[in-house]
Subunit: 210 residues, 2 copies
């Protein structure tokens, strides 16, 4: 495992935007208690900014957990936009639904329990695709969703550096091969412009050129 970004830098950036928000606090507390992985506020802010810029009608998340990233997307959407949450766990999705109700964001969301890839494939003209399923599924996830993307879609994948194991194997983290394969696939596509931002655990951004 590699420390991707110096922790003092991470603290500095987080300290610049000290948002007091009981909903974020509660979800972060739940993540600590349950061990369910979430993106952090830094990544959340990047998703938020990109969503504001992109003004998508349809965001599809593959692997929403209990809705932390979904909340960052939903807050950034205009009234025309919606985010589709997917997770295997009914408990996670129920928690997300409750949270979105409290936040007054339910009308911007669809809550779906089941196989993320199968559900994702039901949608067309996806403007923003967020990939955060189990890491071994990344190559299959993009392959299923490629035909479902709108023109100029933005693909965002969390954990694109997978704790640094893309450059140095660590028995604690499996599936670095799948992540490497996914990254290489995205960078090799001439119909996408792709980059990775070393924020937290790495965020891959791929913009569809037509």
């Amino acid at each position: 495992m590699i420390t991707i970004t110096d922790p003092r830098i991470e603290s500095y950036i987080l300290g610049l935007a000290p948002e007091e928000n009981p909903i974020l606090d509660a979800m972060e507390e739940r993540a600590r208690e349950t061990g369910v992985p979430i993106i952090d506020r830094q990544v959340g802010r990047l998703l938020h900014l990109l969503t504001r810029m992109k003004k998508p009608d349809l965001v599809v998340e593959l692997g929403s957990g209990f809705g932390y990233s979904s909340y960052w997307f939903a807050r950034a959407l205009g009234n025309q936009g919606r985010v589709v949450l997917t997770d295997f766990s009914e408990r996670h999705i129920n928690y997300a639904r409750k949270t979105f109700n409290e936040a007054g964001l339910s009308e911007r969301a669809e809550f779906r329990v089941g196989d993320a890839l199968r559900i994702g494939a039901e949608y067309d003209n996806v403007d923003v695709l967020f990939i955060d399923v189990d890491k071994y599924m990344y190559p299959e996830a993009i392959s299923v969703m490629l035909p479902k993307l709108a023109d100029n879609a933005l693909v965002i994948a969390d954990n694109a550096l997978w704790h640094g194991t893309v450059v140095e194997e660590d028995p604690q983290y499996e599936n670095s091969g799948a992540i490497r394969q996914f990254n290489e696939f995205m960078f090799s596509r001439r119909d996408f412009f792709t980059t990775i931002v070393p924020l937290r655990d790495g965020v891959l951004l791929a913009y569809k050129l037509s």
Copy 2:
């Protein structure tokens, strides 16, 4: 000075996009020879992706050096867009002009020699503002340019982490106070959504909310 991102991670990301491009090579060689600071390819790719997403009509650069960042912007612009280059050095701007001619991008650029802030203030409806002047000038630069920004403008500032001196002073790098002041100003504005990406020396992104 703090190593912001692990160098193995930086190499991995750069290695995923091995663009063979004699123009970039020549500019990077010139940067090494002359010691003129440039953004690197990682930051270049982020600027490129954001510009593709934003589709700006007008990009204004405060502090273009010999045009490395300008080249990344210009390639990402559509036919309707242009980038204004500013630098004190006539030699830098002449080199940029020559490079843009070779690249067939001259029609997307304006080449201006002189005081970046004074020149920048001549423009209105700036869609993307790129700040890369001397670091002590950052607070003044944004204050001069705020009224010149278009709705939903994107402000991008390089060196927002200033070699880590925003968290740990280093006598080798002056002006960490000015950078901190600039960052705090941008994050405090309610009319912008701001974040910092720890890419290379830190890239501040601020999206104007109206």
